[in-house]
Subunit: 400 residues, 2 copies
């Protein structure tokens, strides 16, 4: 059973945004970004590669600098109004004031046309736009609570379906990667060979990428890291892969049609793992299970993270909790939200807040040491009314 809190089907529910603006006595919320900024895509419902403005004042109003996106926005966007700079006399303002001041006057006129004199803006709102609007008498406050980012943390049924679609693609890609490892053979010095050639990180990444493409997903990066590469949690990995060493495969694709992500990590050893790696894997599996056990509505991300640290520290492994400057052991947080961004709220980390039904979070404990390599196991789950549902349907087996 899925979470029962589907509060919207097609359109987001912005009532918490209304409340936040009321609380702060501000007229509107303004975003100036392209749609790779997830808050922009979420608020505007429009996908564009170049920055545009979205004003929320109870309705959604889009403003484009150029005519280029205007026609498409009229067709595709969920906005109440779509306008262009030229609709606010851009060209004559350029002649009178020059291009830079013309833009600030156009944006001010756009706000004024909706009687908006004061706005909240996301923490990463462009400084230049803010300073220009302030120069024109508009109150601009940084929304350090990131209210839209907070809204995005809680997923509807429809969003969870998008994430599951991405995850099924992810599992197909992981299976393709594992298959290459399984079908490789071991040559001199532990070097893996596939189809007569040295099996490399790059070769497996290509297999992953082609599989994901065939499933409608894109991705910027994949991690396939072996040996000392794997000891650095965000090293993407490169070069030949070897038997007996842990190989971390971390895949986090974006489904292109919906823009939602999935995120999963497995660690594989071809052949016989050494004793330390086998111990680390067993310990990490226990830490993983402890974290999942801790997930329920009302628990905090900090408590889930602590459950992982407890398991590791009891086994004598360093963590950032026991030593904030350690570079070996458990040297990252337990997890993060997944949605339009691959890293989003809530945090499953020190300071991580209360988990609520509809939150989608990764659980990814791991251990790292350049002398040994790295081990990480990552599933991701949706918090339900009475616990969680694991969205990951991929086995966890170290040895292939």
């Amino acid at each position: 059973m899925k979470v029962g809190n589907a509060r919207r089907n097609m359109d987001p529910d912005f009532s918490e945004l209304d409340a936040a603006l009321d609380d702060r006595d501000l007229d509107g919320y303004l975003i100036d970004a392209d749609s790779t900024e997830a808050d922009q895509y979420y608020l505007s419902g429009f996908d564009a590669p170049d920055p545009f403005l979205t004003l929320y004042d109870g309705e959604v109003h889009l403003l484009f600098s150029r005519s280029l996106e205007y026609g498409r926005a009229n067709k595709e966007a969920r906005a109440d109004t779509v306008e262009r700079y030229v609709d606010f006399g851009y060209q004559s303002k350029v002649e009178e004031y020059g291009p830079r001041e013309a833009v600030s006057r156009v944006i001010a006129a756009f706000l004024d046309s909706y009687d908006v004199e004061s706005i909240a803006a996301p923490p990463r709102f462009p400084l230049s736009t803010a300073d220009r609007l302030r120069d024109r008498g508009v109150t601009v406050e940084s929304d350090d609570e990131s209210v839209i980012t907070e809204l995005r943390a809680t997923k509807t049924d429809e969003e969870i379906e998008h994430i599951e679609t991405a995850q099924r693609a992810n599992e197909a890609a992981m299976a393709a990667a594992e298959e290459l490892l399984r079908e490789s053979r071991t040559a001199a010095k532990g070097q893996l060979l596939y189809d007569g050639e040295r099996l490399t990180s790059e070769r497996i990444k290509e297999e992953i990428e082609v599989t994901l493409l065939g499933h409608g997903c894109a991705l910027d990066e994949t991690i396939v890291a072996c040996g000392s590469d794997a000891a650095d949690p965000h090293d993407r990995g490169s070069g030949p892969l070897r038997a007996g060493e842990p190989i971390i495969v971390d895949i986090f694709p974006q489904h292109k049609a919906s823009k939602y992500h999935a995120d999963m990590t497995r660690t594989f050893v071809v052949g016989e793992p050494d004793e330390t790696v086998a111990e680390w894997y067993e310990l990490t599996a226990r830490a993983h299970a402890a974290a999942l056990d801790a997930i329920e509505p009302g628990a905090t991300g900090a408590e889930v993270h602590d459950a992982v640290c407890d398991v590791y520290e009891e086994a004598g492994q360093p963590t950032l909790r026991s030593d904030e400057s350690t570079e070996t052991g458990f040297i990252h947080s337990t997890g993060h939200g997944v949605g339009l961004d691959v890293h989003e709220l809530p945090r499953v980390a020190p300071n991580g807040g209360v988990l609520e039904p509809g939150h989608v979070v990764t659980v990814e404990p791991g251990l790292y040491d350049p002398e040994v390599g790295g081990v990480r196991i990552e599933d991701f789950v949706v918090v339900t009314e009475d616990g969680y549902e694991n969205l990951t349907e991929y086995p966890k087996e170290l040895v292939v």
Copy 2:
């Protein structure tokens, strides 16, 4: 022969940045962004998916919130120093002031450790960081000249090689797309069939993407737009493709290893184009040639754009120059720079400034009307000491 102004091999030459800071009597330049922001990648030389800080004060200093990227940055980045929040007492500041103020105090301490009391920041620098630093007494000025973006416009030999590598991949992908069109056959109502199935925009995009992946390139979007889709210059296109209608194929991949882009558009008709499309294509080819003729050091982007408008207007086509609110005819600018961003300086547009050797720009005139469809031809060139060199080696043939 390539441009002769290779001013750097591995490391950027930041002397113009030094001059800009001197002019404005500011101590440093600060970027707070992930490396998808090209100025950040250019200044830091470091590729990271999450935001980090780069301070330039004659040297390059990186600051990471978490330990995660620290190890990798120490290995990979071109920076003079790499530091973490914990190096500035982050944890005790969190306990004393809470997480939000702790961050601003850490960043202020980082700047103070280099005696930096005043900074310039890019126009899209995060409002929240700027306001917090101002609260702590740091002078923060928006660099509306975008000095680093300006620096990036002029490419070295090495950067042009990266761009050419991306373009060779692009040409392989365009050839794969054209091949599918060539090998398709026409069924009832002009529907194209390939291998017994309806040939769609999606099918050709998949062919393009797989080809690019095999050449080490990634891409977010590709345009394969037929009929009325093609009348909207940035419509990505979808659904069945038909004989006799113009099909715009616009590919703009990023080479993953270097992060540099290429950009090329061709328009194809399978079978017999109608008279208007044939006329538009011939006219657009003439506009394209006129733009190339106008490219040389000292010419402005505005002059190159005007050369295109002249050709179109003389033939009776509307342009944004003749009618700023037209939605048919030539409704975008002539071109843009290409590099770490697919759209960057210089502009080949109204207000476009002086072209200099090492500038890499697209030339992409086109005509659009929902009643007809769209036609666009795009090459991209590097400005040389005495003219330009076309980086595009792909034929221009309308009919396949």
